[in-house]
Amino acid sequence: MKKNTVGVIIASGEQTEIIPYGYFCLADGTPAMTKIPHDRGYFKVLYEQHYSRLVSFAAAFLFDSDEAEDVVQEVFVYMWENSGKIDITGDIRSYLFTSVKNKSLNRIKHLNVIDAHSDRVSAAYLNAGIIPDDDADEELLVSIAALISEMPPQMRKVFELHSYSGLKYHEIATHLEISINTVKTHISRGFVILREKLLLLLF
């Protein structure tokens, strides 16, 4: 199973297959695309899938829900109006989160709080329920790995398969011979643990 090559892994919440027009998929269903479709249905799915997380993500920079929602809306509107011109090399989730990150950082640039190790970026991903990617802070990744290894065995296995191997819920369920609901429970509980313990790193 391929790990998400761009590195941002959505570790909780279903990964669904969106096949908007203009895309080819690998045999395993992963879409690879070049342009954002100027398609209302596609954007609706993006909202359904990612809106809440994106706002949580922005809020971790801005500490303001309203501003966070503004930033996310700006990103979607920009995407819509420039859909013919934007080239996406990875997947749409990475594009969305990177855009929101850039816009959020821009808004707080003038406050002169310097984040030398991209600490707060990693913390923001965790706030959004995402395990940050490989070029995040070493220390943070080590802490996350440590916390995962401390989880009860089945929860740990589920977590590793989902976050590091990129398996989907039903694949994990088959692999470990447990029900899909059990898988989902493990993932959400695991994330609560991570967020609770690692939020100490946010503040």
Binding site: S12, Y21, Y51, N112, R195
Partner: protein, 384 residues
């Protein structure tokens, strides 16, 4: 806006937790002298003292945001939408006003590209032997005897019947070449969209007993209901009989199978080569497949939308081999393909691509997902 000193994120975090050392507190106070910084610090304090840990997936409701987005979208697109609505209305009225319809998608997709997608064009051979090339311009052709006038505007031919009885053994032949597609509106209201490398033969006027046409290649039929006159389609190898339906037939001479896919209505297939006397009844979302080599027939359940997607401007592939994929692309784009690695033909793909995209873009997409490499030189694709 005051220009403040810089502080580090770790200092800021400490301040929020209330863990500052004396010297750090002094630096932080200096930073706090700017109003915006103070406001931000207050927000951070409120954020850090939230009760519990909300679930980021549920915390914010997308519905209101989606509505805002839609409002914005409609407002911006209103202008463009009005133009399109007008154009669509004119099509339906079948007015003989010269209109040059610009395909927006084609414009956007093919600017600067060398290999253009197909377009609406065809060669029409009239019963009296005249051959007319039809492309994007408008023409009105009247036939002798005036029993039928043909209106042509880009993309389709419409027959207008003035009600008089004509001779029904006069035939027209529509040839749609590589890289072309064409729509035909017959005198009974039936619409037939003909795909690339296909030929349709049809009488100028249908007689009173049946409406018969002959197809080689691929076409999409939207047959107007007429209980008095069944619509009969002949390909080389099957006869299809319908009363009023929409279906797609792929009957290319160079393919091993003939495939009929029913979208709506009911169809009877008979006169099958190699299966004399056998009749098959087809229901919506069923597909009749004739294997011309083994002379065997089968009915499958499918999603008819996949097989009619070409009429809506898309190629749709569902677990299809590269070989099959390229055969379809070859009919639409002016290309030829060479497989340097013969294994490549068996790689399978699922996806959709707009038909009016440039070939280069499609090849780019293929390169992205395939284990093989695609190179394009002049009009030749090599696969390795």
């Amino acid at each position: 806006m005051g220009n403040s000193i810089n502080i580090s994120w770790s200092l800021f975090k400490k301040a929020v937790r209330g863990n500052l050392e004396i010297e750090e507190q002094e630096i932080f106070n200096e930073w706090l002298r700017v109003k915006e910084n103070r406001l931000y610090f207050e927000k951070a304090l409120a954020f850090s003292s939230r009760e519990g840990v909300p679930d980021p997936e549920q915390q914010y409701d997308y519905h209101r945001a989606w509505l805002e987005f839609e409002k914005h979208r409609h407002h911006r697109n209103r202008e463009r939408f009005l133009v399109l609505a007008r154009v669509a209305a004119i099509l339906i009225l079948l007015a003989a006003i010269p209109i040059f319809l610009v395909n927006r998608a084609r414009e956007a997709g093919s600017s600067g590209a060398d290999i253009l997608p197909g377009r609406s064009a065809a060669l029409l051979t009239l019963a009296d032997g005249r051959i007319i090339r039809i492309t994007g311009a408008d023409t009105t052709i009247s036939l002798e005897g005036k029993s039928s006038d043909i209106l042509v505007y880009s993309g389709s031919i419409t027959y207008q019947h003035d009600g008089s009885e004509g001779v029904s053994n006069k035939f027209n032949s529509l040839d749609v070449g590589r890289g072309e597609e064409f729509s035909l509106n017959l005198s009974d209201g039936t619409v037939i969209k003909v795909n690339s490398e296909s030929n349709l033969k049809y009488p100028v006027i249908f007689n009173s007993r049946a409406r018969e046409v002959w197809l080689s290649g691929e076409a999409y039929f939207d047959v107007a209901p007429d209980s008095a006159r069944p619509f009969i389609l002949h390909t080389g190898d099957i006869n299809v009989r319908v009363l009023g339906t929409t279906f797609n037939v792929a009957a290319y001479g160079d393919e091993e199978t003939e495939v009929l896919t029913l979208a709506e209505g009911k169809i009877e297939v008979s006169g099958i080569k190699g299966l004399p006397g056998k009749t098959f009844e087809i229901k919506p979302n069923q597909q009749f497949v004739l294997n011309k080599t083994s002379l065997s027939a089968d009915i499958k359940t499918v999603d008819a939308g996949l097989y009619t997607a070409w009429t809506r401007g898309r190629f749709v592939f569902e677990d299809e081999t590269l070989y099959s994929l390229f055969r379809k692309l070859q009919r639409w784009y002016d290309i030829s393909v060479f497989f340097l690695d013969s294994e490549a033909q068996y790689e399978r793909f699922t996806g959709q691509v707009p038909r009016f995209e440039s070939f280069e873009t499609i090849l780019q997409l293929l390169n992205r997902v395939s284990n093989y490499e695609f190179e394009l030189k002049n009009n030749i694709v090599t696969v390795k």
